[in-house]
Amino acid sequence: MNEHIRGSIFQLIDGTISDQDFERLQEAIEADSSVREEYLRAVGLNESLQELAIDSAELSGNEKAKPAADAPSSVQSSRKSFLLAVALVLVVVIVVGDIGFWIYRANSTDQPETLITDREDETTQTQIAGHATLRRAVDVEWPDEQRHHLEGDVLPNGLLKFDVGLAEIDFFCGATLIVEGPATLDIESDWSVRVLNGRLRATVPPAARGFIVKAADSEIIDLGTEFALNVSPEHARLEVIDGEVEIRGGHHDGKHLLTGHSELLKGEEAPTNIFQNLTTASELQQHREKANQEVFARWQNHSQELRNDERLIAYYPITDSQQQRAVENAADSGSGRDGLVVGPVAKTNGRFGQESTGLQFDRHGARVRTRIDGEFQAFSFACWVRIDSLEHRYSALFMGDGYENGEPHWQIRDDGRLMFSVMVDDSKEINYFSKLEQKMVIDAGLHRVYLTEPIWDLTKSGKWFHLAAVYDPKSRRVAQYVDGQLVSEQEIEDKYHISTLRIGPAEIGNWGQPFRKTPVFSVRNLNGTIDELAIFNAALTTEEIHHMYEMGKPLGY
């Protein structure tokens, strides 16, 4: 069984799966009976372990385990509705449950974990610092001193503060908080958070049991499912929505609260209805959809206007497209410059979610081919792209086929730098020592690659970016932009100057005609998604690029 699929199955069972992996898993379950079998077996394992764990805790007289009557965990409440069945289950456990081995095995811990092969090599493993991710954010306004987080961001240790809006935060342990602004949280670890201010709903699946929320001078330990918390400088109140929590520290040290119970952790009695209208996950989703429709509509208006821009060489508003194989050129230059989907390009969500479309190039053969004849005086490229990883030395955004004179190459290097270049003289052979290949190599011809500082690393995986490159022979200037901000500005030296630009046959998301045959260079498909690309025969100004970003940015930016 594919390890990724298996990992996704466990994450689904623990409630920690990402939306993207959940979608992939659903597809695999539908398409592949072996995945189906594996999923069912994993659910069976999980349920059986749960039954075993609870039964053995009860039978071994574990003090921490409550009698079924006052521990309304999801398993037990189901049994309460079928009391007869409870009796039967207990009989079965007493007959077949081999309690002896628990005691017998307890002494044999001197050879721990022999079954675990050391799959995690901590030194070579890529690590990201943080304890939680921002799953969804709606209308969140961040104060100036706070880093402005986007959906999908990994949240590091420390203070997280926002003034208004709704944020859904997934801790790595699996617990989820829906927080209403104004709020201030101190993220302490995968398993613990301090709430200094704000109203929230905490949901804790079984795998995250033990998750600690600190408020006032108490620790709230969630023993499963859901509770609400409201903290202000003057008071703090806790209410259990479903399940059980334990309070440690403060006036109520050691107290257990069950479904519907509420406790004041600090201050005088506050107004009674402080938890009224506390946002649920589905309400958050509704708010989010509404806000998303607004930004989608804003971009659609902008996109309609842009189509009339006479400077456009080609414009591919993929995100709004219903086409199957054709990638429509919406500029006046017409269908002769349409792109064509070639190979395993997957249609996926664009940057406005399910209603929008993106083209995913994660398979090696995936590409969109186009042909743009003519001569141009300048280039401006602008696209929206989501990069999942930079697994090849170079990942292609837009590439002229043969890299002949005047043709552009726009790509990203595996260290996260943007690269823009135009072939100046393809008849020259340039020899240089390649560090990567540890030998002298012959380069294709005279050209200069204009690099930015690294703009991407693994923490930005899955996030949408607006990238732009402006190549202007007339003013001898190359400018590159990320999210509407200028990140690099370089001069075109005499040696590299060329005034007639061309494109010809070209590819989006891959490079069809590599001329050097070593494997590190020949695979350049973008492991990511593009949902809009515009190419202009003009040098756009910083203001124009910024405007495109502002009109086209997705929710939360």
Binding site: R36, A53, N62, F82, V89, V96
Partner: protein
């Protein structure tokens, strides 16, 4: 109206009570199988109890339609009959919550239901296989595997006792779960081989 009509109110009540006793008997014997079937069609345990309850109510409402072909096999037929109702209930529960994050779409529920129906009677073998496979683990491994389910126990607690990182424990947990799954499917295929 004839005086000797067979369905007097008393008879009807007695009949209904007998029918109800039969129903409760069947349900009590099989509610865990039905619950497991429902759980298989839902991405998490949330809502499983609701769907089980709705299914039980619906089964009782329709119980007069339930007529086993052979009385010897009534129990088996009851489970399959109830699971058809459960599938419908699980599907509509998720459809009502399609805006929520983790719900299966209809095609997935349908595919899972078909596979799950084929394994309805394997629950006990599976449970025994799991116990056998669990017994092959070291005590500390078993503790980790059961920690996420045991009241009063948790990964966080093991982490604080052993000083290991919770995240590392979590990935160990998943390795162990994978080993158990492999072991269980091997056990089950061996069992079948003996038949």
């Amino acid at each position: 109206m004839p005086q000797d009509q067979p369905n007097s109110p008393q008879d009807r009540t007695a009949d209904r009570e007998a029918r109800y006793a039969e129903f409760v008997g069947l349900l009590a014997r099989h509610d865990l199988s039905i619950r497991r079937f429902i759980r298989s069609l839902m991405p998490g345990s949330e809502g499983v109890d609701d769907v089980l309850q709705e299914t039980a109510m619906e089964c009782w409402k329709k119980f007069s339609d339930f007529s086993p072909e052979s009385p010897e096999d009534a129990a088996n037929e009851f489970v399959r009959w109830a699971c058809v109702i459960a599938r419908y209930k699980a599907m509509s529960w998720q459809r009502d919550r399609s805006r929520d994050r983790l719900v299966f779409r209809e095609g997935v529920v349908e595919a899972l239901a078909q596979s799950a129906l084929e394994h309805l009677d394997q629950r006990e073998e599976e449970r025994q296989a799991i116990q056998h496979c669990l017994s092959k683990l070291e005590e500390s491994q078993r503790r980790l595997v059961l920690s996420v389910h045991s009241p009063g126990e948790s990964i966080a607690r093991i982490a604080s006792e052993t000083g290991e990182h919770a995240r590392r424990l979590y990935s160990k947990l998943n390795v162990l779960r994978g080993l158990l799954l492999d072991c269980v499917s091997q056990q089950l295929s061996e069992d079948l081989g003996h038949e």
